[in-house]
Amino acid sequence: MLTLTVNGKNYEFSGDPTTPVLWFLRDELDLTGPKFGCGMAQCGACTVHIDGVAQRSCVLPVSAAVGRKITTIEGLSEDGDHPVQKAWLDNKVPQCGFCQCGQIMQAASLLASNPTPTDEEIVATMSGNICRCGTYPRIHKAIKAASKSIAGVEYYTPEKEGENA
């Protein structure tokens, strides 16, 4: 019997310990925000936070998540008001929407560790998340916007000065 912590609650799981976290969330807990897009860490649709860091739940066995905090899109914010979600709404990012929970979780994790990423850092971090509808320009823009609202204050950096000059 394994105990898993998802969105702040504990759950018991007696099934196959090699079961990926994705299928535990979707099939056992009916948390369907994390999506199945590839099953081999290629697309990012299944992205959740493990102790606050974005990870592909489709390749992470439940046994490796014991004792760690799993957060899904359903647990990212009370009512969809995380700055990244707000930026997604403001920039009307989604088309079909299927990839977007994964994109948002990836972006939220990026901004948590690096509130003012450069354009290149955004591209590098987000390129593991496929959007077949091609919303990349909007995702990029929304992350910049969320970065502004998260960062709040703009710190002085020499590169920035160069950009503004």
Partner: protein
């Protein structure tokens, strides 16, 4: 009981909708042409009796039925915008109901970029009817002239200042006879408040919070999961199966054989062996443990390398004439310096972000299906055949599609779910893996194109010959069909806009050794690639600027009627007087995008601009791509600009989003290695070897401008895709002098 009004019988019908609602449908409004005369090209012969519903509930909430599938084009929002605008409904009182599959709605096949084209007029009329009834109900209560009452934002106001809310008028309106079509006054373009704006789409909040229901998210009924091992070769079947190890996997409940299809593939499942389990992981493990021997059948020899050679051989020999003017053959025969080029593109697969998935529950007298389908009426038909029931007994609920791009108008996955449910007596969710999606698709056809042109002294095109060859979609529906048919040739081949005294278009045959299906913009992809690349090649030969030359060869403003040149042409089933092939609009798009992109500006070494323009799905579009190619051959797409003339548009932001996304989808054709076959088997399996564009492959800015006009509405979901690859390859040539005629680009820039 609420009531539906049946105009044919001029009486109200009982319905199960909310008590006391006013329900208005389109059936009785007919196809009266007015503001947008001719827009209503009938999508099917049921169009005239089609019922779309809007219901005004006693609490004032408006329920609008959307009968088209939502796959990211925001059709649910657009339908609501149209109806709410004409009925003067307040936006916060709108609820959109997703229609089940039912022929009463008319055509529900959400493909061909035609939802707005086929429905704008009748949805406007439906909305305007409700506004009319509100006005008339209020006038009757007050005993005044209806013309002295105006309906604005859920409120009817008399000239004296007194008001009724829509909610207060619902029961009165039930006794008002709905207007005949010609008694309606539709709003003018200037009066629109929702149409032609970029309002946020109605499912946005659900999407960003993970609440939107895609096919695999359906939890009622609570289903068992089936994962299916299908024959790797089209037309193949199971020779023997050993499922001992599978049945020993914990959580596996059953193993069900699915029969191999007969005749043409159509939308039938490929057959195979389904592993039914308590959860997805167990079903996956169970499938892995199956031991199956296959009988491959006649397509076991399909090999992409030899097929490529066969296609190129075909287009290099005379073929059947499709369109002809003057005598291109003899001009070309006498030109020792003609420009000749062969173009090739591999099979591609749609790879929608959510792999196919459907849930089904079989009962003695009906089947309930929940599926991500583009065409629920096709599910009714296909599922009905699979389980031996009339299609009327198949209830198809449409979920959010999770992307589709043509794959999900083929409901083989729904039929699989229904069949396994019938065999097990349990609710079943058939989950396709990405490997299943890549290896068991309905593929975009592999193709070869051959073009020759003779240039005159001024560099103009004196004679032009184009041959195309590919396996037709018809092969999916008729066994052995191997000749491209008119509809596929219409897409960017027959409607070639080049103005030249001598022109010949020919089509070659090719057998289908895989299931062929449509993918976003279909054969426009390879036709536009060849034609728009070739024009840029000719510009180079003539020593002229790409953009100037493109304008020169398509010639002056005029309406092009290719049927005067011995051609058959369906014009996307658009009425030719409403949707002529208007060269002025194509030129307008080119000039616009040239302007947007600063065409002609100085660029640093290694950078280049490329342009391409094309009409597809009755929309005129032009794209400019800017690239940088490094000395070592690394490609970087810097930015793209797109001008789009789709006539009247409903949601401007969706048009921009679709155009951006359609452009990036077009990058797939350039960078993906495509789908290749050996021994009849697909050689790719997941996103590691079937590459699709990622953020690092995409420009971070795709600037889109909508050319605003009052022309009839045309398609939006598809047109941005075909122009992208040629604009990109033309930009690559401008940047580094390397001409790409074979896609994918692969290592060609490194050589």
């Amino acid at each position: 009981m609420s009531q539906y009004f049946d105009m044919q019988r001029r009486k109200f019908l009982k319905s199960s909708a909310a008590l006391g609602s006013l329900v208005v449908g389109t059936c009785f409004l007919g196809a009266a042409p007015r503001a947008l005369a001719g827009v209503l090209t009938p999508p099917s012969d049921t169009a005239k009796t089609a019922n779309l519903f809007v219901a005004l509930r006693p609490d004032g909430i408006v329920e609008i039925t959307c009968h088209r599938s939502e796959m990211g084009q925001q059709i649910r929002t657009a339908v609501a915008q149209i109806v709410a605008d004409e009925m003067e409904a307040a936006w916060d009182k709108i609820v959109v109901i997703q229609a089940k599959g039912d022929p009463k709605y008319g055509d529900q096949n959400t493909d061909g970029s035609r939802s707005i084209r086929f429905n704008l007029q009748r949805l406007r009329e439906m909305g305007a009817s409700v506004r009319y009834m509100m006005q008339h109900a209020a006038a009757k209560r007050w005993g005044v002239e209806p013309s002295s009452c105006s309906a604005v934002q859920h409120l009817v106001t008399h000239t004296s200042g007194k008001t009724f809310t829509y909610a207060e008028l619902v029961s009165d309106a039930l006794s008002i006879t709905p207007p005949e079509a010609d008694a309606l006054t539709l709003k003018t373009r200037e009066e629109w408040r929702y149409i032609n704006t970029g309002m946020a789409h109605i499912d946005l909040q659900d999407i960003v919070t993970g609440k939107a229901t895609f096919a695999a998210d359906v939890r009622a009924p609570k289903a068992l999961v089936a994962i299916i091992e299908r024959p790797p070769v089209v037309g193949g079947k199971v020779k023997s199966v050993d499922d001992t190890a599978t049945r020993a996997v914990k959580g596996v409940i059953d193993v069900v054989s699915i029969p191999a299809p007969t005749g043409a593939p159509q939308f039938q499942p490929k057959g195979g062996v389904a592993v039914v389990a308590e959860n997805t992981w167990a079903a996956m493990q169970g499938r892995r443990a199956l031991k199956i021997e296959w009988d491959d059948g006649p397509n076991g020899d399909y090999n992409s390398e030899s097929f490529k050679a066969q296609l190129l051989e075909t287009v290099n020999a005379p073929q059947e004439m499709v369109r002809e003017k003057g005598d291109a053959a003899s001009v070309l025969a006498n030109d020792t310096d003609k420009l000749v080029a062969d173009y090739y593109m591999p099979h591609l697969t749609q790879a929608p972000m959510e792999p196919p998935c459907a849930t089904a529950m079989y009962y003695e007298d009906r089947v309930d299906v929940w599926a991500s389908t583009q065409n629920p009426q096709a599910d009714m038909e296909t599922v009905g055949k699979m389980v031996g029931m009339e299609k009327e007994k198949i209830n198809v609920h449409v979920t959010m599609l999770g992307g589709a791009f043509g794959r999900k108008s083929k409901p083989d996955f729904s039929a699989e779910a229904a069949y396994v449910s019938m065999k097990t007596g349990k609710p079943i969710r058939v989950q396709w893996t990405r490997e299943d999606d890549i290896q068991h698709g309905y593929y975009h056809a592999v193709s070869a194109q051959h073009i020759e042109a003779s240039l005159n002294d001024q560099g103009g095109i004196e004679a032009y010959l184009h041959r195309t060859a590919f396996a037709p979609i018809a092969s999916t529906f008729a066994e052995g069909a191997n000749a491209p048919f008119s509809f596929e040739l219409d897409l960017g081949f027959t409607d070639n806009p080049i103005l030249t005294p001598n022109l010949k278009l020919e089509r070659g045959e090719a057998p289908a050794k895989a299931r062929i299906g449509w993918m976003r913009s279909v054969t426009n992809i390879f036709h536009a690639f060849a034609v728009q690349s070739f024009i840029a090649e000719a510009a180079h030969k003539a020593g002229k600027d790409q953009k100037d030359y493109l304008l020169e060869v398509i010639g002056p403003d005029r309406v092009l009627d290719v049927t005067t040149q011995n051609a058959k042409y369906n014009n996307y089933w658009g009425n030719k007087s409403v949707y002529p092939l208007d060269i002025a609009r194509l030129r307008g798009a080119i000039e616009k995008v040239a302007d947007m992109s600063g065409w002609g500006r100085e660029l640093p070494k290694g950078r280049g601009l490329g342009i391409a323009a094309h009409r597809s799905f009755l929309t005129y579009i032009a794209t400019v791509v800017e690239v940088e190619v490094s000395d070592s051959g690394e490609l970087d797409i810097i930015k793209s600009w797109v001008s789009v003339d789709a006539g009247t548009v409903v949601n401007t932001d969706s048009v921009i989003n679709q155009t951006q996304g359609g452009s990036i989808y077009g990058i797939t054709t350039a960078i993906s290695g495509g789908i290749t076959f050996d021994e009849g088997r697909v050689q790719q399996s997941n996103f590691h070897d079937f590459r699709v564009p990622r953020m690092s492959d995409s420009p971070l800015d795709v600037e889109v401008e909508i050319i605003q006009n009052g022309e009839a509405p045309a398609g939006v979901g598809e047109p941005a895709t075909p122009v992208y690859a040629p604009a990109l390859c033309n930009a690559i040539f401008a940047a580094c002098g390397k001409r790409i005629r074979t896609l994918p680009i692969g290592d060609q820039l490194k050589a």
